[in-house]
């Protein structure tokens, strides 16, 4: 049975483009133009994955509100945000909505499809209470990273990172002690338009999440003018 993907986007052209692209990948797509419309649709049936635009018509925070309500109903529901600004990345992180990933506009449809399939796969893996999947986890010192399941833990404690953040961290720790350039990290975001600032913002958010658990965390180091380095 095809996975159900819900798209909430107020612009009809974009909505149609997303729907076309995703349905071509074999998913069943339901598209909504507003928050109220989307909620009534979710009342009927919860989808397997939701793509949310943040601004819906006049409602600036409609995407966040929808996300909150959806996660209240189904905490494990994968959510992808379509954002416009890097400060919205901050916001998503700050609200700790548990959003799984985000994509800045303009969107690359290939990336979107990739994300969807990856998130659905991860969700499946988690649902199987993944006892046997633990083996995929990579351990670097105190860090344990399972890129497939988007699971990261530090000194045995779970750290809730988004998909993008996990991919960036994975790049960073691939060869511990080596500096990783901004360019490499940009590729990891799987976005078309990324600036150093975007990377810095992501790195700061990752660092903060680690520091919340361990105030002495200092493994992510800036290589000013080049990129970042993981050293323990």
């Amino acid at each position: 049975m095809a996975k159900r993907i819900a798209i909430v986007e107020d612009d009809p052209d974009q909505r149609a483009n997303y729907a076309d692209a995703i349905s071509k990948k074999g998913y069943s797509v339901s598209a909504y133009g507003s928050r109220v419309e989307a909620l009534s649709g979710f009342d009927a049936e919860l989808p397997d994955l939701v793509i949310l635009d943040i601004i819906l018509g006049e409602e600036i925070d409609a995407g966040f509100q929808l996300c909150r309500e959806l996660l209240a109903r189904e905490p494990n529901l994968p959510v992808i945000f379509l954002t416009e600004r890097i400060d919205e990345i901050d916001k998503i992180s700050g609200l700790r909505l548990g959003a799984w990933d985000y994509l800045p506009k303009p969107i690359t449809l290939d990336y979107l499809a990739e994300r969807i399939s990856s998130l659905l796969r991860i969700n499946e893996a988690r649902d199987k209470t993944g006892v046997q999947r633990q083996t995929n986890a990579k351990n670097i010192g105190n860090l344990s990273l399972d890129q497939d399941a988007l699971l990261v833990s530090w000194k045995g404690q779970r750290i809730d990172l988004s998909g993008t953040e996990v991919r960036m961290l994975a790049k960073l720790v691939r060869v511990p002690g080596n500096a990783v350039s901004y360019e490499t990290l940009m590729n990891a975001t799987m976005q078309s338009l990324v600036t150093n600032n975007t990377i810095n913002t992501h790195m700061r958010n990752i660092r903060k999440k680690f520091e919340k658990l361990d105030s002495n965390f200092a493994c992510i180091k800036s290589e000013y003018g080049f990129g970042y380095r993981w050293s323990q």
């Binding site: 974009q14 969107i107 078309s192 810095n200 800036s222 000013y224 003018g225």
Partner: protein, 726 residues
């Protein structure tokens, strides 16, 4: 040149202007003084009128009374008049003149030889008081021969012969003989002036004599009644020098010529006239009745000549002294004419005024004139003619001083000056305070208004706080400026939100475009290879990055506020940055020169990294191929200076100044991706860190350096330093 001068001269400050306007108050004393002078004139005129009226009133008493004046012959040519002056005090018969009045006012009548040095020459004073005629004589006589009682004859000693017409019309003869007891006795004489007509002395005549050095001083009196109403009389001094021979050596007469049967005329105030006038005298005024021969016929009242007070100077008199010193100057300043001299008019001038008054009034015209009689005393002479049957038979002169007027004028002048000065000072102080307050208000308004916009032209506040509640024009100004700022703020807010709105508005169609292109490629696989699809995708990307850059720059300050500052060692930061940079810019040589010691600054490291990115990009873009881009860190006591310099074209002053402004690019048209945001971002980040950014040409003119100065963090404690990220 002139325009240049005019633009430089902006006119006086507010306070100066108000102070200058305050000078207009000087018109107050000016007008006051004018009024004072006018009032003085009015008062003097009033008193003149009053005196004229008095003179006229008195003159009407005499109108038609020729009988009072015609007791004197109208023609004086036949007679030698002997004027008897009215005596004010009582006279002691002691042959002294002290009681006749001040010596300088005594007017002697002289008789005898021309030079008055011969024996028997004499000088004489005639006085009249209480119906007595007083005579005082100074006779030159080397040897006084007294009367010898052994002889019956009276003419063989020094004596004075008095001849007159008696009341009954007969000739009267009286000899005044000098008794050895220095008493003068009078005897009625026979026709030959030898023997007394009666054996007894006439006791109506009393006198005394005093022989002194070559002189005999004689003083005597007799009742006017003796002379009858016509008062013709003559006097002869008979000098006898040899006490043995006792013969007459000289005789000196008052009679015009010897042998002519005529008499001198004693001219006196007319008693009837005097009686009438006496009751009319009043204080401070003198009334004179003068006949048409200009003879004083009656007099009543006196004017006392006051000498300037010789009191020790009190504060008041010192002030009035000051005023009297100021007065002539002030008078000239205000009225433009010289104040009449303060010094008393000479007696001649006084007399000329009096003479003019008498002459004019005797010509039939009433007249009043002002005359100064001493330094601080003036009087008015008013005269009105006495008329009888169409002819002027005399005049009444009323003299009165104008002391009261002058005193009033003086005190008024003092008050005017004092009040003027006080009001000037008061108004001046008030104006000064007002101007100060006004200037202060305007200045604080100006400061607030100019602080509302920073030196980059950015709006710092949307309204003014000061003076907005003031009700006057400054309040209006403040409200209007505040209103302007508010509108400007609204407009600015609109402009600031513009890039964000723009991005939002552009991103959606862009996204539509982008996703449509992707779907298109999906749908028609052959299209994917089309170069047009590739260029369309590039165009989409470029628009995306433009919008992104604009929005980033616009949001920069906002997002900077969210950054946390950390203590970072800039030296190691820059060292690693430059070495990393060298990897990124492989074809450009990068040199770092630092102080080799920790240089701690409170910064947001990503932002300083961003700042350095922009500076290095800029330097690399402009550097001459083959030369190095140089990054240098200098430590100063308070600041750190990062300089990024490159060899290459220099900038002109205009460019140096505007290099860090928003949307200013000096790269030329071929660099379309640069919006002049790079260096603007540098400036905003430097500002945010409390520093400054500026561009300079290298001293040797070989290139350009961008300088960023950041405040040096204070010597941090060890605990704080441990927070520094390695």
């Amino acid at each position: 040149m002139l325009a240049n001068l005019r633009s430089r001269f902006r006119g006086p400050r507010l306070g100066t202007k108000l102070a200058l306007m305050g000078l207009a108050l000087l018109a107050v004393p000016w007008f006051s003084y004018q009024q004072l002078v006018e009032m003085e004139r009015l008062l003097v005129q009033g008193q003149s009128q009053a005196q004229l009226l008095t003179a006229e009133g008195i003159s009407t008493l005499f109108n038609g009374r020729d009988d009072l004046f015609n007791d004197l012959p109208l023609n004086l040519e036949d007679f030698e008049p002997l004027y008897a002056q009215p005596l004010t005090g009582s006279i002691r018969l002691d042959a002294q003149t002290e009681d006749w009045g001040p010596p300088e006012q005594l007017q002697y009548l002289e008789f005898g030889s021309l030079d008055g040095k011969q024996d028997a020459d004499f000088q004489m004073l005639l006085g009249e008081r209480a119906d007595y005629l007083y005579v005082y004589m100074r006779i030159r006589d080397q040897s006084v021969v007294y009367r010898d009682p052994e002889y019956l004859r009276l003419d063989n000693a020094d004596h004075i012969q008095l001849n007159f017409i008696r009341a009954d019309g007969e000739d009267g003869r009286v000899s005044l003989v000098f008794q050895p007891s220095n008493v003068v006795t009078g005897f009625a004489m026979d026709e030959q002036w030898r023997y007394a007509a009666t054996g007894v002395a006439d006791n109506r005549i009393q006198g005394a004599l005093l022989p002194s050095n070559e002189e005999v001083l004689v003083e005597f009196r007799f009742p006017l009644a003796l002379l009858g109403s016509r008062r013709y009389f003559g006097m002869t001094f008979v000098d006898v020098d040899d006490p043995v021979a006792r013969s007459t050596t000289h005789t000196t007469r008052t009679l015009p010529s010897a042998g002519k049967e005529s008499f001198d005329l004693v001219v006196l105030g007319t008693p009837e006239v005097r009686n009438i006038v006496q009751g009319l005298g009043y204080s401070g005024a003198r009334i004179l009745v003068i006949d048409n021969q200009a003879r004083v016929r009656a007099e009543a009242g006196t004017i006392q000549t006051r000498e300037p007070d010789a009191q020790e100077p009190s504060a008041e008199s010192r002030i009035s002294g000051l005023f009297s010193n100021l007065r002539p100057w002030l008078h000239q300043l205000v009225t433009g004419e010289e104040l009449p001299s303060v010094s008393a008019q000479s007696p001649i001038e006084q007399n000329s005024v009096a003479e003019r008054v008498i002459r004019d009034s005797l010509n039939g015209d009433p007249i009043a004139l002002r005359s100064r009689i001493s330094a601080n005393q003036e009087m008015i002479l008013a005269a009105h003619p006495i008329v009888s049957a169409e002819t002027v038979i005399g005049t009444v002169v009323v003299e009165q001083d104008i002391d009261n007027i002058l005193k009033f004028q003086r005190t008024s002048l003092e008050q005017v000056l004092l009040l003027s000065i006080l009001s000037l000072v008061a108004v001046f102080v008030a104006l000064l305070a007002f101007a100060g307050r006004l200037a202060w208000r305007i200045r604080s308004l100006r400061q607030e208004a100019s602080a509302a916009i920073d030196h980059y032209g950015r709006l710092r506040r949307a309204e003014l706080k000061s003076e907005v509640n003031a009700g006057d024009e400054i309040g209006d100004l403040s409200r209007s400026v505040s209103n302007m700022l508010e509108k400007l703020h609204q407009h600015n807010t609109f402009l600031e939100s513009m890039p964000r709105t723009l991005r939002h508005e552009i991103n959606n169609p862009l996204n539509t475009l982008s996703t449509s292109l992707q779907n298109l490629a999906e749908e028609f696989p052959g299209v994917d290879d089309s170069k047009y699809l590739a260029s369309a995708k590039r165009g989409v990307n470029r628009i995306g990055s433009i919008v992104q850059n604009l929005a980033d720059a616009a949001n920069l300050e906002e997002s900077l506020d969210a950054e946390e500052l950390e203590a970072v060692d800039l030296d190691s930061f820059l060292r690693s940055y430059v070495s990393n940079c060298a990897l990124a810019h492989k074809d450009t040589r990068m040199i770092y020169q630092g102080p080799d010691k920790p240089a701690i600054a409170m910064i947001a490291d990503f932002r300083i990294e961003q700042l350095m990115d922009k500076l290095v990009d800029n330097a690399v873009d402009f550097h001459r191929k083959g030369t190095a881009v140089r990054v240098q860190l200098d430590c100063f006591p308070e600041t750190l200076q990062i300089s990024v310099s490159n060899r290459g074209p220099v900038m002109n002053d205009q460019v140096l100044k505007s290099a860090f402004d928003s949307m200013v690019s000096h790269r030329g048209p071929q660099n379309r991706l640069h919006f002049g945001l790079g260096l603007y971002v540098v400036r905003v980040i430097a500002d945010h860190h409390g520093g400054v950014a500026r561009a300079v040409n290298l001293p040797d003119g070989s290139g350009v350096a961008m300088l960023v100065q950041l405040p040096l963090a204070e010597a941090e404690s060890g605990a704080r330093l441990s927070a520094i990220r390695p």
